[in-house]
Amino acid sequence: MAQPTTLQPPAAAPTHDAPRTGNWDGGNEPFKASYGKLMMWFFLLSDAFTFAAFLTTYGLIRHKHEVFTGEAKDFVFNSRWWPIPDHVFNAFPGMGEANVPLGFVALMTMILILSSVTMVLAVEAGHRMDKADVQKWLLWTILFGATFLSSQAWEWGHFIHGHVEGTVMADGTVFHGANLTMNQYGPVLFADLFFFITGFHGTHVFSGVCLLIWCFIATTNGTFEKRGHYEMIEKIGLYWHFVDLVWVFVFTFFYLV
């Protein structure tokens, strides 16, 4: 008795008369999100990997170095151990050499969170097709974004020029500030990581501000009104919140821990 050697067709084969209509059978949106929004999510996922790799590198290199074990008030900058952040980042614009530990970075964090809020407000106004409100909140977001970028430029300037007293280096000379091969705060890699991580984040903020300016122009021209929806604002908004999110992590691992 011969066994059947070929695959038998399934008992209830789908026919053209009765197409399957399940979630993943095509012709609908299983995630109930548009193509553009999904792609923005996947881009942000990949970008999150990049930033996570940066912060993981920071963690590895920091743990590779010695930890200062004394009292915080006795801490001095030395290339042997990792610096205590509030001794490095303690300057405030217009206050000279006054000691304001983490004061300026707190202000920068507030500005970025506030810009995220005005971004949601712009998205909310877009849902209501309220062109004037979208314009208003986009302008606020652009303003806060640009303020954050300027603050970061100041922060970099201060980091590069350094504290007045400087640090005595191994060869006996006093060195002020930081570059990629030498710095007064601690191990060489501390300054390198500062430049790379905050720099990469700042580049993202800069791209975000450019995109927002483009969104503002398009809104003003009535592009989205004619299209019938403001989904572009939502997509750029996702990117903008992501940049805020990255700052939350950079803030924790670079300035607090």
Partner: protein
């Protein structure tokens, strides 16, 4: 998020719905509050593993509000939520593995020249 579809029926043509923004400012208050708590810990607690753990928990809490509410992920379909969260969870392993590796490299380097 306010659902625009439900309010649209009652609107006359060309009329614009009233803004619904109280929830946005509530989330803003939460984010500012968590950041303030972080600053309290920076200045009132000596550096320790416990303090770092508190910072990480508070950071993840802030991330939850930004991603869940501002980026709206909490209100998306389950499939989309998991698509984003599952790959991210792999990063926890990466972080733990490489930070441990860093401590080990540091220990080896310290003893290499003695």
């Amino acid at each position: 998020m306010a659902s625009p579809a439900t309010t649209e029926h009652t609107l006359a043509p060309g009329e614009i719905a009233k803004p619904n923004t109280s929830w946005i400012w509530r989330i803003f208050g939460i984010l500012v509050g968590i950041t303030a708590i972080e600053f309290v810990f920076v200045f009132l607690m000596h550096p320790s593993t416990l303090r770092n753990s508190i910072f990480i928990v508070l950071t993840i809490l802030k991330a939850f509000f930004i991603v869940g509410e501002f980026m709206h992920l909490k209100h998306e379909t389950k499939g989309l939520i998991w698509t984003i969260l599952v790959p991210m969870s792999l990063l926890i392993w990466l972080l733990v593995a490489l930070v441990t590796e860093g401590s080990y490299v540091g220990e080896v380097l310290q003893h290499m020249f003695q």
